[in-house]
Amino acid sequence: MQNQQIKQLIEALLFVAETPLSVAQLTDYLLEHGIDATRKTVREVVDELAQDYQERGVQLQQVASGYRFQTRAELGGIIANLWQEKPPRYSQALLETLALIAYRQPITRGDIEEIRGVSVSSQIMKNLQERGWVKVVGHREVPGRPQLYATTNEFLDYFNLKDLAELPAIPEPPPKASNTGPVTQEQNAETATDESESAP
């Protein structure tokens, strides 16, 4: 077998093998197939191949257990996108739960359920807490001592807010005639209202 063929064969073997191949393994493999090449020759061929691929999109890399072809490190990020799946979307239930915690904190799960008219799944509360957007800040002293949820600094960071006052204004529901607001009204354009009616 000619030198060029041996080189082609070694190149192909390195590409086909599922694990890195050492010079010794390559030499043995050639011998088994009746191709007489010394380790020295094989090493030279491997070095030559590494040289050939220096500036290519894949490179011949020596790792602990031998040589393998791998993609050029700089391309990693962009190649990763081949396997990158599209980000999923949150459910309406989660969005509403988060919105209620953000706008009406501290709030219990019961409060959320009362407003939304449906039970809040534990998975949603777990998601929000794992995401670091929501945490328990205390308990309401009523029977069952329900946990009170509030948003976190991570939540503000995510939405690029300095504080909750920067949350977009929500169109006000029509005010009730009987409702009497506190005196601070002139200091803030938004109405501060008594919580007692909505708090259980």
Binding site: G117, V137, G138, A165, A192, E195, E197
Partner: protein, 276 residues
Amino acid sequence: MATSSSPPEQQSLPLGFVRGEPVIDKPEDLYIPPDALELILESFSGPMDLLLYLIRRQKLDIVDLPILPITKQYMEYVEMMKEMKLELAADYLVMAAMLAEIKSRMLLPKPPQEDDDEVDPRAELVRRLQEYEAIRAGASHLDEMPQAERDLVVVHADTDAKSLVQHQLPEIALAELAVAFSQAMAQAELQHHHQVQRERLSTRERMSRILDLLQTTQRLRFAELFEPAEGKQGVVVSFLAILELVKEALVDVVQVDAFSEIHITNREQVYAESTD
């Protein structure tokens, strides 16, 4: 057609494959040792294959299909197959019947007036043999094409890129949050008749912050909750938050003596201590 393009040595064409080995030559004589016969019969992929073999063995052109000797030889093979491999014979018997029919039509004297219209009774079989021969060539082309598993390996390079794949979390836009809030509230308006109104945010936020602080510290000095830097509005917000928390029974405001420092304690802590 096929014969003209064949090499002069007809026998050098593989006539079939026996256990993967091409059968180049076959005994001219019909007498074949039974074991070998079995192998040869297995090597035919069907009656057309056998028929084609018989024609080629005689170095004859398909279009001059020598129906009499071919039928005779074919029948002898079928007889042997009937003895040995009955389950194979059905398709071969159909062909045998067809050959017999063609043979009998060839032997019939033709009424002279029908000469123009009369089709050679062999025509249909010849057409099928020609087409079968073409397909056999196609099959051997396919066999010779480089095949993905036999002759080549599709290769891949290793890549660390997979480890760079990020588990993506869902994204939310701030506007979506506002919409979700109004949707939840609209739902509440429909479901409940009591009033649910927008809370002044800064107060609610301060309430959260105070509660949060009390998670780590058992008691807070009242003064600690007022940041002079926040100005008058900040003081009002903190004060309202404390009042709100007291009203919701979330914190206690404790003053040991008159004019001593006021402390805010977590009701939770008190509760926990008292139950111990």
